[in-house]
Amino acid sequence: MSIKLTSEVVRVAGESEILVSIEGEKVKVEYDSLASLRSFESLVIGRKYWEVPYVVSRVCGVCSHAHFWASNLAMESALGIKVDEATSILRDVCNKLQILQNHIIHLGFLVLPDYEYLVKNDKYVNTLLKVNKVVNEALRLLGGRLTNPNVYIPGGFTEDLKQSVIKKVMNLLESVGNDLRELANIILGIELPELADPFPEYVSLRNSPSVTVPVEGPYVIDSSENTYIVYENYREIFVERYLDLSMSKKCLINGEKVFHTGARARLINYLRDGSGLSSELRYLIAGYEQLFKKNPFSNIYAKIIESLLIHENLLQTLSSLDTGKLSRVRPGNNFSGGFGVGIVEAPRGLLIHYYELNPEMRVIKADIITPTVMFSKHIEVSSEALIKSLLASKEEQNESLIKRFVEALVRAYDPCIPCAVHVIKMKR
């Protein structure tokens, strides 16, 4: 059996294509970006420290809060600024709201047509739209606008926040608690395609879905097999290289092992500590742990469970947040240059920003590693596994079926191509 397939994957953020070649037993899958390289690392060279977050948040309109936060963290540790706890918590709240928004959009608009069960369910679509509206409104209240907010700056926020806004956000979130639970009931009832994924490492920031906020490095990164202390050594742990004859750069942990990051990894690792986790959710996550490790299609389960978790956490965090404590710290006068690393959990996984500043506080070196780059190798590996299992099954196989399954798998990963500034498609 010999099949060659090229398919542009729709219903993901950005343009990408998947290439499948099957020759007898041999199966090869490549996942490439079709979006043009926008080279943000070179754009920020020579810019003042406070300009950089505004520029790099335009890497991705889907998770701009995460980019803002990571670049601010990196800038602050480079400048030696320590922000107050309230600022850190508020940034974390915004980022979590964005994760929630991304999960809802993914569940509502992107993967929806892959599952007939969901398409027919009118109640599901209406509930999703309602939740989406509420989360958008909350993000608008906190960030000034929906995408590319204009409130972040290294050292704090550009303006004070009234306590009444926090109250409003809490009311909004409380109003959708039941809706989220309803959604969870529907989504967890979906029958997923079966797939035995070769076990990769699952990597996430320690306790990332909980209320604990990383304020400065070094960052503790948990994996399903290891614990890494990451700061300036991030390049040694997350190694980007060209693999085999593939045209795209791929990221491997320690330069050898395929790894995954994102909602599934966060839930798997969080379960080990699980502080501040309600027993109901702990039970839920533990029940799905093996499935999360085994089947990438279960990403949609992970997303809705994490949405429940985030919703619970946000209400807790916001109730104890005092906006009167927000203050803005400015960098000192005698700065002699330095570097900083910022790592946060973006909706799709780990996001690393690195900046080196000269004594004039201008950027001389910049580096960004985004989650989609990290798990793009994993997409290829699990697609190959999927095709192999499809070929091994007794039912008759054809191109369109394989194409449909592979596209559905890529979509389940929810890759974000605008983010993946590293996935270069070279001349073919």
């Binding site: 043009s36 390289l37 080279s39 335009r58 989406n132 590319n148 001349k427």
Partner: protein
Amino acid sequence: MSVRLAVVPLSSCDGCQYNLLNEEFLDLLKGLNVKLVFWPLLGLGDGAETYDIALVEGSVMSSRDLKTLLDARKKSRVLVAMGACALLGGVQAWSSNSISRKLGDEVGFSRPINHYVKVDHHVRGCPVNVGEVIKLLKSLISGDLIYVGGRRFNYVSRDSFKISGSLLEIETSKCVVCGRCVEACSLIGAKALNYVFKGIQTTISTPYQESLESAGCVNCGLCFAYCPVGAISLKTKTEDLLDKIREGFLRTAYIEPEALTSLIESDNLELGQVISAIKQIGFTKVFIYSNLCEARNSVGGEILARSPVELSILSKQIPEYSVYLLTPRIPQDSVYISQCVSWRNVVNSLTTRELQLLIRGLGMEKLDSERPDGVVSCWEDVILVSGLKDMRQVLLNPEKPIDKRIVFEACPGGCLLGGGQSISKYNDLTKVLAKRREILKKITTENLIPHGLQLKASPF
């Protein structure tokens, strides 16, 4: 029929698209009877052949983007640049070292989409305000005036164009939209020219840029006379005629008294000096000839049109009188120096303004005084009517003089202020007219008639 909407992504952060993904926007689409036919983010694509409205997000950074954009332009009726990337190139346009060009892509640099295609409307912002997009869509669909985003910069440059008729030609690239031609055109009653387009794109044109004659132009040449920048010009140039004169094919010149008058008035010349100047150009014989003398042939109640302009205006505006029209005969195989531009289409003709420039080129001090070789004139028993308004009053008056000969001059102020007349040193037209009337009276009573050169009948 539902409106077909497409959202076309190019190189960008996708933020504008995610901004649109909310209940408000999707509800609105349902309410406006809009059908989404192309949006890769929602899995809609291919199959659709045409779009009514295409919202383009992102800048052109690769040949793939360019292909998508050109395809979208071809398929869509209205193309909207959505957000800062599409409008201005986005942050990625800051980059000067293009990696994608090094990798072999032809486009390489980030450019706004109006660099490649025509953009109909735009919405500003990074990201865009959903409210503005909704407003724009609403006004596009309902056909209201569009004010969303405004038009602060002239993103869309409309190509300049030429409008030509049989006699005149308008180049809009030279036009400064002073509006004198529009006023003149409406005064004479043709109303062929008017303002077109809006805002900074305003220019002068005929409706739908059709040819001048089909828009109602009568070739009076008033627009040509009053244009201060030379945007309106004659199609046949003076040089062609001068060549013929110098080669000796055309040796006789006939000059109208009105043309003589305006030359005398504007350049402070004597009648003899003008005749001398015309002879210096290359003519052997110069006659003074007024086509008013054709009125002698009329029995009474008929109307003499002094030029083709009056013919076309009367036959268009008061068609019931077109059977009473008399047309003057004009000498062939000679040059007719006239105050009217429209004779250019019929015979070899020089306008007074062209003659004025030629005489100025000769130099005033060289001019002697010479007598004309003959005069053909008639100044009795005619009613001179100038302007369409007066003509209407005369013709539609029940007590109109049936036995009198009526002569119609279409230009406001008559032939003394005709489309081909020379440029006066005075700006005030009433003053110019008064002055020229005085000179014409002087010529006819003191100069011409005492010479005894008046002929009884037309020589042709």
